[in-house]
């Protein structure tokens, strides 16, 4: 079970960084398409994760992340060492 506060924090950070309305961020929505991300934006995403959550991201970490739910799971597992 992921903490609602963490989800809120992730959504706020993503909405601010990628300049989208936070209301369009739904757990089942596709991450890349919803945030309109391309490879250059991914640089921002990596920096953002490392800066806000304090762990290092590797290329393989992004494999399998399709939706916001996947992204929440990924952040949560890394923070809690799961």
């Amino acid at each position: 079970m992921i903490d609602g506060v963490l989800i809120e924090k992730i959504n706020t950070i993503l909405a601010e960084e990628f300049e989208v309305d936070a209301s369009i961020i739904k757990p089942e929505a596709p991450l890349m398409e919803t945030l309109d991300l391309d490879s250059l934006d991914l640089v921002d995403m990596v920096v953002l994760i490392e800066h806000n959550f304090g762990f290092t991201v590797k290329a393989k970490d992004f494999v399998g992340i399709k939706s916001f739910e996947d992204f929440y799971q990924f952040i949560n597992s890394r923070i809690n060492g799961a």
Binding site: D38, S39, L40, L42, V43, D44, V46, V47, V57, K58, A59, F62
Partner: protein
């Protein structure tokens, strides 16, 4: 300077096959660069009609950007192709161990030396101008590994040539492949290990994000990628160009880029790009015939 969707870009294909390249290698190794230059003077004549895209690009560059007349432009066109050929020949000669035959001058300010000698990673931004690669062996003096970022199809071409020559190059390569982001992580990891990341800041690939900048008196599209990477990864940036200044003589020119970390988010890369374009404009203005972007760079 907003991104637009124009179609001016490099197709990704380079002229000249491996066999032609290896013929020149044979000539250089056995008869010297002078013999290779002589053969080149004839080969260039073939390229003018049979490389129409490149010919058209340089003709327009000469006529519309440099404002040269028709006859002068014809001579300029020949010299541009000839200089490109010379730069490849010289690069092969240096790579084959003939570097003692060449003179290399360094224009390297103290702040650049300090950064290149430090333990941190550095982003080195160059251009398809002059003879960038001829200087790569000299980066050894800083005892740091150089990783060159290039499109995967460029890398495959180079690999074929290196394998044919049974030669290992003086730099590593981080290939950019479509639909994969792994190169971003490789770049970041290399920087964190204190390596140099070399990347060209002038050539646009299809569908790449870009900004239009005033360059040599007209608007031209520059790729955002190198500048976004450099500013987001917080690495110091050095602009580097190697120009041919005479017979077997080169000058390596280094310029320290400004520190744009205080700029607002997403303005940093624009500031860095402006800095780069200003520097590039200065060196291209001095050596205009060493400009080797063979597509409609200015969309003119």
């Amino acid at each position: 300077m907003e991104p637009n969707e124009s179609n001016k870009s490099w197709s990704g294909k380079s002229r000249g096959g491996t066999l032609g390249y290896l013929s020149f290698v044979f000539l250089i190794k056995n008869f010297g660069v002078g013999a290779a230059y002589s053969l080149l003077s004839f080969v260039v004549i073939y390229y003018i009609p049979f490389a129409p895209k490149a010919t058209s690009a340089i003709w327009k560059y000469s006529r519309k950007i440099l404002k040269k007349g028709r006859l002068t432009s014809l001579k300029f066109l020949y010299m541009n192709f000839f200089r490109l050929g010379q730069s490849i020949i010289d690069r092969v000669a240096v790579g084959a161990g003939k570097y003692n035959e060449f003179v290399f001058d360094f224009s390297e300010p103290d702040n650049v030396k300090k950064v290149l000698n430090s333990s941190e990673g550095v982003v080195i931004i160059g251009a398809h101008f002059g003879n960038w690669e001829i200087g790569s062996p000299f980066f050894d003096k800083y005892s740091k590994e150089m990783m060159v970022v290039m499109m995967d199809y460029e890398y495959q071409n180079i690999k074929k040539i290196l394998e044919a020559q049974k030669k290992i190059d003086t730099f590593g390569v981080i290939p950019i492949t479509e639909n994969s982001f792994s190169y971003l992580f490789e770049i970041r990891d290399a920087l964190s290990k204190g390596k140099y990341i070399a990347i060209q800041g002038d050539r646009l690939s299809k569908s790449e994000k870009h900004l239009d900048m005033m360059f040599m008196g007209s608007m031209a599209a520059f790729p955002l990628g190198p500048f976004v990477l450099a500013t987001r990864l917080n690495a110091p940036v050095v602009f580097y160009f190697a120009v041919r200044t005479g017979y077997k003589r080169y000058k390596f020119e280094f310029t320290m880029a400004g520190d744009y970390s205080g700029e607002p988010h997403k303005k940093k890369e624009v500031a860095l790009m402006k800095d780069y374009v200003t520097t590039l404009e200065r060196v291209v203005g001095e050596y205009p015939e060493q400009w080797y972007n063979y597509y409609n760079f200015w969309n003119i």
